[in-house]
Amino acid sequence: MKAAILTDVTKCIGCEECVAACKKTNSLGDDLPVCDAPDDGLSATRWTSVIRKPKKHYVRKQCRHCLNPACVSVCPVGALQKTSIGAVTYDSTKCIGCRYCMMACPYGVPRYDWGKSVPYVRKCILCYDRLIAGKQPACTEACPAEATIFGDRGALLAEGKRRIQAAPKKYIPMVFGEFEIGGTSVLYLSDIKLDFLGWQKDLGAEPLPELTWNAINKVPSMFFGVGLLMSGVYWVIDRRIKLQKVRMESHEKANSEVQDDDKGC
């Protein structure tokens, strides 16, 4: 099974039960005032939030658990992992705190414990412990309106398409997150545009790690190529200088011999 969440924006009533459940399950504690955070409500102590949009639209924001996550690909120590079940998890014992994941995430999801002297990266981990125990995430369990539901990604995609087919006028005819940056595990159905969830309006369909990979896969050839080139240049020039020296010496020798011969005469 590939764990996934489908959030239907048209069904959400904005009660924030999911936020409360998330805080309780992950023991996140009180929110402290944060300076200059993006206005999506997420923080190190709030891993999911409800963004209020005009005309009673409530959009829940959380980690999208991308199928090919940028944060996982950039982490230099593998503190972030895409688990086989689908959740993107975080191992604080490995983390060095470089915050590259925060820079790389196109949705700006990972947050940081700025106020602490031992800070960690904080984000939704799809209640990984609960998934392993065979339960569903706390947020989907808490939702009173079934606006956000848990299931297998394939099944949820099918369910989303079924809902669109059943009420084509109600929805924008696409499952948000089906193809976006290579697909995400957290899917949305909506009647308003959800382009405010990411840094850019259109994030494209190409998985972000592939952009880096195009450069990184040249590394071995570049590394050894430069090494060979430099060794070659050194060898050629060094040999030339040596040959020149030998030639000079033999020339001098010959000259001196000639001189000696002259003297001899």
Binding site: P33, D36, P38, L42, P76, I96, R99, W199, T212, Y234
Partner: protein
Amino acid sequence: MTRVAKVKTVLWFFTGMATVVAIARFMRGLGATTALSDRTPWGLWIGFDVVSGVALAAGGFILAGAVYIFHLEKYRPILRPAILTAFLGYGAVIVGLMFDIGLPWNIWHPLIYWQHHSALFEVAWCVMLYFTVLALEFSQVLFEKSRFQRIYRLLKSLTIPLVIAGIMLSTLHQSSLGTLFIIMPHRIHPLFFSPNQYVLFFVSAVALGMMMVTLESNISSYLYEHKPQTNILKGLCSAARYVFLLYLVLKVGDLAVRGVLPKIFEFSWQSYLFMFELALSAVIPAVLLFIPSVRSTIKGQLWCASLAVAGIILNRINVSGLSMIGTTRTDYFPSWTELTISIGIVSAAALAFFFIMENFPVHEEKDDKEIAGDEKGEELEVVRFALPPFDHSTEVWLGDFPADARRRYSGAFIIAAVLAFTLLPKSAIHGMQSAVVTPVYKALGGDTLKINGNRNNNIVVFNHAKHEKDTGEKKGCIKCHHISKPNDENTPCFECHSDMFQKSSIFNHTYHQKKLKGNASCKECHKNDELKINVSRPCYDCHKEMFAELPAAVYALASAYKDAMHGNCIPCHKDESLKKGKKELAICSTCHP
């Protein structure tokens, strides 16, 4: 005071300031000492100390390659200072990184947790290995005059493999620093983003390395009052012009191929920034270096190198920060503590540079054979050790007395440390959580305050006059403004308004529903008329006893959030709507769209 002594005093001053800030940084964390935020996780320390720092130290591998691989012997006199600069530069980068990363004691983790698909992993390894290579390359200098001649000979025999390894590693991580930013097309403005960033970073690093060697060599000759190496540097400048030209072609070509060339002429602030950067980092140096009189004069070299260095540093800062302002709308500006750390690290590295220049034979002997035995003595001493001048005829030391110097440097250090401590923000001393101060502003007119408690500009209006009256005039001040709680300036609202997070005054709906016998009883409170704003009966309809004691216990019965807010706004709105005849002022939907 000699020139170098003046500079050293200033450097000790900055080191002193940075030392105090450093302690605060490691005790209280990043949030307390930097302006970094979730919007801007990478700031000055990454943009300048790390990304620019690595590029600034590129001179080491370029000159090592020129001398040892291409046998361009004329550069040998400036090789060792360049390697020393590179070594200290990478040291500064690593120290800077220790400040920036949240868990610096885990900095060695890339050694054991391998992630080959991360550009940062590659950079980490390369920087680590190259730092070792530089240390080995430079340690020749330390061992040259020591008793350990065997180690010196061993190191010397390793020179060529080390130099080649250094070039391989440098090529890799100079370009990989560009690769870091390839994954952020969503953050970086298209003019500054490029999928070929790694090529641009490498070429500009080579150009920057050459210019940095030129600049640093001229500055150190000026400070030590030596004859500048103008002729050698002329050759370097002459080679650098082609690198700048290549960089310019690549940069513009990259824009053209990606089809974002027209964006330069958008005349937005990003396009101006880009034009400025391109002029400073490529066009001006390329043009200037083609003028022979610029290349061969100290003044020309200094100007050109300074502009180019500033330009390429600007490029690094643009790519790693400024180009993202448009998308993230950040208001990040480095705090003075961040600036102090950056300047302090550079100062400490410069002090180390001076120390080594003065105490070790950094200026290499040309060749033992070339120098005749007699001339070796005095003259060589001055050239090889960068010491203040010594007048041999009168045997007078023209430098400072060491005791004087020490006193002055310590003085500068201590004054700076004290200054930094007094300037530290509250959060850097007490930690961030205990130092949260609610931003309060005076609202226009009246005795009303605006409290931006959550820093999200959802302002709470606070009627000070009313609170004063209700808590007992002047005697009541201490109820909120007391001095018995540490780090607290005024009592948070919820200490009195204990139910302020409820939507309305405490009312247990379920309890009432049960007591009034389920759904059938809805209409007891909720009248059928939906057009009325108050859809339910007021509590006191049933609970007549409830407000009996009100005047005495107003403090205990502080209103809930909604009622307090309404109480603040509605009376005035009502008055004004009647006075001005503007009906909409009294309608709910005017304020709640």
